[in-house]
């Protein structure tokens, strides 16, 4: 309750501003269409209005405001248009239909989850290496940072082609791109986590003559759990972005990314916006799922509140 009300207020304000913004954004096309339909617009003629400010135009033609919220391919779709489209493409379509966002969402989700799995495992293994080998610590970290400054969209097509030439196709290349984005936060978080035990706790292990692996399993790993989940939350969101980026150079035939892209080729703004929102909702659900896992795990470990 303590958050629902403020969120509702903020959302209401945003929706209000959004509706208002639709007017100047879409007024030019609305005017042209209205004129074509026989209405009198001030000033007359599209050429006349072309270089006119949107707000001025809106103020002189209050009668067509309604049209700015009901266009087919608006520059900025109105909130209810996006919601309607979301509703129609999720609830009202069969999930097997290629026009169903659930279908596309599932395609993206499967690449996301696979990539997230690969990225997480790789990230944890790398972190284990870094914590246990000074040479790895010193050599890998700077390059891991540098790797994240490479624009993934630029190399994604090459990754796809290279993997293609060794016979990997379909889900795997997308998952690898998704893993590339998610491994970094996991490495950084887990290195921190594995190093979170105090010197005293490590000394304690030594007084018991614990081996390296015992120290790892009984001390470092459990101590790193809070860090693990913090990075998993960032990592899964990054995975989703990666899966979407990975969809573009694979022919963009299926998935939310493909939806975004093809929507933009044909100027179908409502479709773009609904795919965008579907992505954000998916991200929120995924992060919430990780958070739920976190609560359950920490509770079982006895460290949850």
């Amino acid at each position: 309750m303590r958050t629902i009300f403020p969120v509702a207020v903020v959302v209401a304000v945003i929706v209000g501003l959004w509706y208002a913004a639709c007017i100047p954004m879409n007024i030019h096309t609305a005017a042209t269409q209205a004129e074509r339909a026989g209405m009198v617009i001030d000033p007359e003629g599209a050429a006349e209005r072309r270089d006119m400010g949107a707000i001025a135009l809106a103020l002189r033609n209050t009668g067509i405001w309604g049209d700015t919220w009901a266009q087919d391919k608006p520059r900025l779709p109105a909130p209810h248009q996006v919601v309607t489209e979301l509703w129609e493409t999720t609830v009202e379509k069969k999930v097997t239909s290629k026009r169903s966002l659930i279908f596309h969402g599932w395609v993206t989700l499967s690449a996301t989850l696979l990539g997230f799995g690969i990225g997480t495992v790789a990230g944890i293994l790398l972190a284990v290496g870094i914590v246990h080998s000074r040479a790895m610590d010193m050599s890998v970290m700077p390059w891991a940072i540098a790797s994240q400054t490479i624009p993934i969209l630029a190399i994604a097509p090459m990754i796809i082609v290279v993997l293609n030439s060794v016979g990997l196709q379909g889900l795997i290349p997308k998952a690898i791109i998704s893993a590339y984005l998610s491994f970094f936060p996991v490495v950084v978080g887990m290195v921190k986590g594995f190093r979170s035990p105090s010197q005293m706790q490590i000394d304690q292990m030594r007084t018991w003559s614990a081996s390296r692996s015992q120290t790892f399993w009984k001390l470092r790993l459990p101590a790193s759990m809070p860090y693990l989940f913090a990075s998993l939350k960032i990592g899964i969101a990054a995975s989703l972005v990666g899966a979407i980026v990975g969809e573009l150079p694979t022919g963009a035939v299926r998935g939310l990314g493909a939806r975004l892209l093809t929507g933009s080729y044909y100027g179908q703004t409502i479709q773009i916006w609904s795919a965008l929102f579907a992505t954000a909702i998916l991200a929120a659900v995924l992060v919430a799922a990780v958070a739920a896992m976190e609560r359950a795990t920490l509770k079982r470990m006895g460290v949850g509140r």
Partner: protein, 281 residues
Amino acid sequence: MGLVIAALVIWGLAWWMNIRIANGAQADTKGAKLAVPAIFGLTLLVMWELIVRGLDVPMVILPAPSLIVVRFADSLPILWADFVQTVVKGALSGYVIGCAAAFVTAILVDRSDFLRRGLMPVGSFVAALPIVGTAPILVMWYGFDWQSKAAVVVVMVFFPMLVNITAGLQETTQMQRDQMKTWAAGYWQSFWTLRLPAAMPFVFNGLKISSTLALIGAIVAEFFGSPIVGMGFRISTSVGQLALDMVWAEILVAALAGSAFYGVVALIERKVTFWHPSQRG
């Protein structure tokens, strides 16, 4: 095949050398701290070169590093122009605007608990919008030149910064705030003398994350429309022309610029948060 084996041998040798240095007596010197990653990076490059040559990988799929370096050296004026367009105009301006906006919002959110509870969940939702979706929209709204790239960067860095600054402002202990109270300090007094300095480690954490985001955002946004200059423009056009050496030269610029950007922020961090245990080492 011989070259591939040579690559593996070199890998082994370099790794052995690194282990020697890292576990040796000089491991904590500046020299070692530079040498180890440098050797590692060099090895990667040498292996790349040898494997590409050894397996005869076509240039249009993956050019050898030597070809990339030649292309880089030959195209300095183009690369420079692209760098200015994308990094200086697009990424930097967006970065500055985004961080400043996040800062102002963080203060508002800090002053009003209502706003915090309302804005943060909505903000995290908006932050989850993927750049491939938002970039075309922003290009449509703000035009082809750097302004739309800056807008993409603003959208990308705003939320991570907001989260970090707000978390940082919470970073003071109850005791420190009580202390301020015992001196009857006002909001701004305790903001400037206590909360902001205490927030700095977090702020810099956000600034570092955002520095790489900014660069990537500016480049990727150019894929969705641009003038005929810029790193993203060059990359996408060069792929079409199969000039993969040029693509990698631009990626090299991106990595150099990104690492330098990150490095500069880290350096300033060191100067500003000299007092933080993590910096005292």
